[in-house]
């Protein structure tokens, strides 16, 4: 074979192999690590799977925050004004967590339909509303 052509074939096949590996890795990692967002109404309707990492959120219900006196356990309700969802979390809540504000939590649903959160999302700005939450609110208003 012509040496130039041979080199070209080697170069292209190296690129293809690396690319294929990367794409395989990426698709696998993506399929494992996407977290779907569910509104409280969707959770109530049983659309959200149990034991899978997902995101849920809504407005924090006034007077719903319960703190344990001897640990950092905290529980609260979020609502989309149709249904509400109980979220339990162990740890320190972000500074801007407040009753009456929109929040997003990431975690897994247990058999009681309670979201055991591993993370409650912080944000930088009081006026900011997570886009998922505002979409969920609009959806529940439209129904």
């Amino acid at each position: 074979m012509h040496p130039v052509r041979k080199k070209r074939i080697v170069t292209i096949s190296v690129i293809l192999v690396v690319l294929a590996t990367a794409i395989g890795l990426v698709m696998y990692a993506l399929s494992q690590n996407i977290n779907l967002f569910y509104s409280p109404t969707q959770v109530e309707a049983g659309e959200a799977p149990q034991g899978v990492t997902l995101r849920a959120g809504g407005m924090v219900v006034e007077n719903s925050v319960e703190r344990a006196s001897d640990s950092l356990n905290v529980a609260f309700l979020v609502t989309d004004y149709k249904h509400s969802l109980r979220i339990e979390y162990k740890g320190i809540l972000p500074d801007l967590f407040r009753e009456g504000q929109g929040i997003v939590a990431q975690g897994k649903l247990d058999e009681r339909g309670v979201l055991i959160a591993s993370e409650v999302l912080a944000k930088h700005d009081e006026e900011y509303m997570p886009p998922e939450v505002s979409a969920a609110l609009e959806q529940s208003k439209a129904q």
Partner: protein, 647 residues
């Protein structure tokens, strides 16, 4: 000076007129071979830059003087705000940060105009004209959708809403300007590439002109990202240094593409290969900068950085983005096919190693791009709202990055055109054995984790290979080490420094994830808790009054082996103007470990939720970033760029 803001607004309008003239006149001059139109490029650039800077300074003065009749000032400042935060509040919101963006673009353009005498007659004006096109788009964006000079008359508020407390920090003063210097600086490489396509002068010379500019922007972007990471680390109170947040990814993507660009520019300049690829990469790098601006400013993605955003602005930037990227790619498609390179190179030549560098960096960029945009694609297809978690990025990014670093060790040893394979084997055998065994030795003190062990071995490998290469070049029987070391060019030291920076950062990344300890505890006054080797004693809290906030300061004594190490004072602040709570973490930095305490919420009986971290080697991550930046600057200041290249 009641009229000052109007003058600022007017200056901005004039600046846009000059930018438009700059976009049109020299270009027409080039196409019609009209020398008079060509020479307008420099004065037009200076006028545009002066007016934009004037408008920026006027906005800063309005902030300094608490002119709350301006909507933007009243939303982002307060009379109680310390003066240095008032000035940095200029870029604390959407309008002002765009004004900073365009001001920095103008500074780059003016610097380029000042240096453009060394370029051939028609190239300089065309390059400036391309920058004029970009400037016109962004100035129009500011003027039509986000002017910072809108007045609140006659209902002027008595006081401002205040700057978001998260932004009242040294981080805001330094991070955005550095980041933008890098982001926007890539517009110069982009302009050179587009000018090369327009003039058809796609030989190696454009690469030589673009190289120092690309290096400097890359250095700024590196520093900007490192500063952002450091800021997030201490300000957000979670002790993380990278969150794979969409906004962070937005700055990482141009950095990755820019890193690839620096290397492919080197190949194009030295060997005249990869010509059309380098042009494409320059277009992609700046496009990713624009995409980053879009992602940050449009608020389409859920992000810890997301601020309340106006969707019409997002549409405008998106349109600008599509227009700039689309027309560049069209031009590329029309012109790049004419490029042919006649030079061939061997499989082990330096060209091949740098090709691997470019392939891997491009793949890294694409994986980050995919992970960042996937939620948008998913949503657009109506499949539901998702987020892509950090595990995706860690799983995909780190193996490819490690592979890249393995090659980073070998490539500098190779020669252009062709290298003997046996030579490379011989040179890398000893460093490889040393790295693997030293890493194994270190891990006898740790629980064994093969991935971490491998990563550490790769960091050591890179270090040894850098040292080896340097020794190879300076050791000689005839001359002393220092005579030879001084003779090595600056760009070589720049490269070595940047590569060592990668090794240093990698060590930091490995140990921070391997060896860090974290505890979230409830602490009552007088209570003690052991975390790692350290004992923390909570003495209680005291009340503190700041200039524009009140705070509870917790007093925590730290002991190691019964010896007092430090007294740490984390705070929980309440900013009055916005009634907003803020956590100020207390840090005890060290070369091999940071102690990090942040306060949670007050619980009953004077107890508090307290978060305590011990972070191993976390400083090394940013130290590596500083080394990389220094390397980039050193390479840009190489003597051979000083020579006039002539017409």
């Amino acid at each position: 000076m009641m009229m000052l803001p109007e003058i600022g607004h007017y200056a901005l309008i004039l600046a846009m007129m000059f930018a438009l003239a700059l976009a049109v006149l020299p270009m027409v001059g080039y196409l019609q071979r009209n020398a008079i139109l060509l020479v307008t490029a420099k004065p037009l650039t200076y006028l545009m830059a002066t007016l934009t800077c004037t408008s920026f300074v006027i906005l800063a003065i309005a902030f300094a003087q608490d002119d709350f009749s301006i909507l933007y000032v009243s939303q982002h400042s307060n009379s109680l705000l310390p003066i240095w935060y008032k000035i940095s509040a200029v870029w604390g919101g959407h309008e002002g940060s765009l004004l900073l963006w365009i001001t920095i673009l103008c500074i780059w353009a003016a610097t380029l105009a000042y240096k453009s005498d060394s370029l051939p007659n028609s190239t300089g004006p065309v390059v400036l004209s391309v920058l004029g096109i970009v400037a016109t788009g962004f100035l129009a964006f500011i003027l039509f959708t986000s002017s910072p000079f809108i007045r609140l008359l006659p209902d002027t508020p008595a006081d401002g809403v205040d700057l978001n407390p998260l932004l009242q920090d040294i981080g805001l003063i330094v991070h955005p300007p550095m980041l933008y210097m890098g982001y926007v600086g890539f517009s110069v490489a982009f302009a050179f590439a587009i000018a090369a396509l327009i003039t058809g002068n796609l030989n190696a010379s454009w690469a030589r002109w673009a190289r120092p500019w690309t290096n400097v922007s890359w250095a700024f972007l590196t520093l900007g990202i490192a500063l952002g990471s450091w800021w997030a680390y201490y300000e957000l109170g979670w002790g993380g240094w990278w969150f794979w947040d969409p906004v962070e990814n937005a700055s990482l993507m141009p950095w990755l593409a820019g890193t690839a660009l620096i290397h492919s520019l080197a190949v194009t300049e030295k060997r005249g290969v990869f010509k059309s690829w380098t042009v494409l990469l320059a277009i992609f790098t700046f496009s990713l900068s624009l995409l980053g601006t879009f992602l940050v400013r449009s608020g389409v993605l859920t992000s810890v950085h997301a601020f309340a955003a106006d969707p019409t602005r997002g549409v405008f930037i998106l349109a600008l983005l599509v227009l700039i990227i689309g027309s560049s790619l069209l031009l590329y498609a029309l012109r790049a096919s004419q490029v042919k390179s006649q030079v061939s190179f061997g499989l082990t030549g330096r060209e091949s190693w740098l090709l691997i560098n470019n392939i891997l960096l491009t793949i890294l960029t694409l994986t980050v791009l995919l992970g960042t945009l996937y939620p948008l694609i998913f949503d657009a297809l109506n499949l539901g709202k998702i987020s892509v978690g950090a595990p995706y990025f860690n799983a995909v990014f780190s193996p490819i990055a490690l592979l890249l670093i393995v090659f980073m060790g070998i490539a500098p040893l190779s020669k252009w055109h062709n290298t003997k394979g046996a030579l490379l084997w011989r040179a890398s055998a000893l460093p490889a054995v040393l790295a693997v065994s030293l890493s194994a030795f270190v891990f006898t003190f740790h629980s064994f984790d093969w991935y971490m062990w491998l990563s550490f071995a790769i960091a050591l490998w890179l270090f040894f290979m850098c040292v080896r290469d340097w020794l190879d070049k300076v050791l000689s029987k005839r001359q002393s080490i220092w005579t030879r070391a001084r003779k090595l060019p600056r760009h070589y030291y720049g490269m070595q420094l940047a590569h060592l920076g990668v090794a240093v950062s990698l060590v930091g990344v490995i140990f921070v994830s391997l060896n860090s300890t974290e505890a979230v505890v409830r602490m009552a006054p007088g209570e003690r808790v052991m975390v790692g080797d350290y004992e923390f004693e909570f003495l209680g809290t005291r009340h503190v009054e700041g200039p524009n906030y009140t705070a509870d300061t917790a007093v925590i004594n730290v002991y190691q082996d019964g010896q007092s190490v430090a007294q740490m004072l984390p705070q929980k602040r309440l900013y009055q103007a916005r009634r907003q709570m803020m956590t100020e973490a207390a840090l005890n930095p060290g070369f091999t470990r940071d102690l990090y305490i942040s306060l949670g919420e007050p619980l009953d009986n004077g107890a508090w939720g307290v978060r305590i971290y011990i972070k191993s080697f976390v400083r090394w991550i940013w130290l590596g970033g500083i080394l990389m930046m220094a390397g980039g600057l050193l390479a840009a200041w190489d003597k051979r760029y000083r020579r006039k290249t002539g017409a």
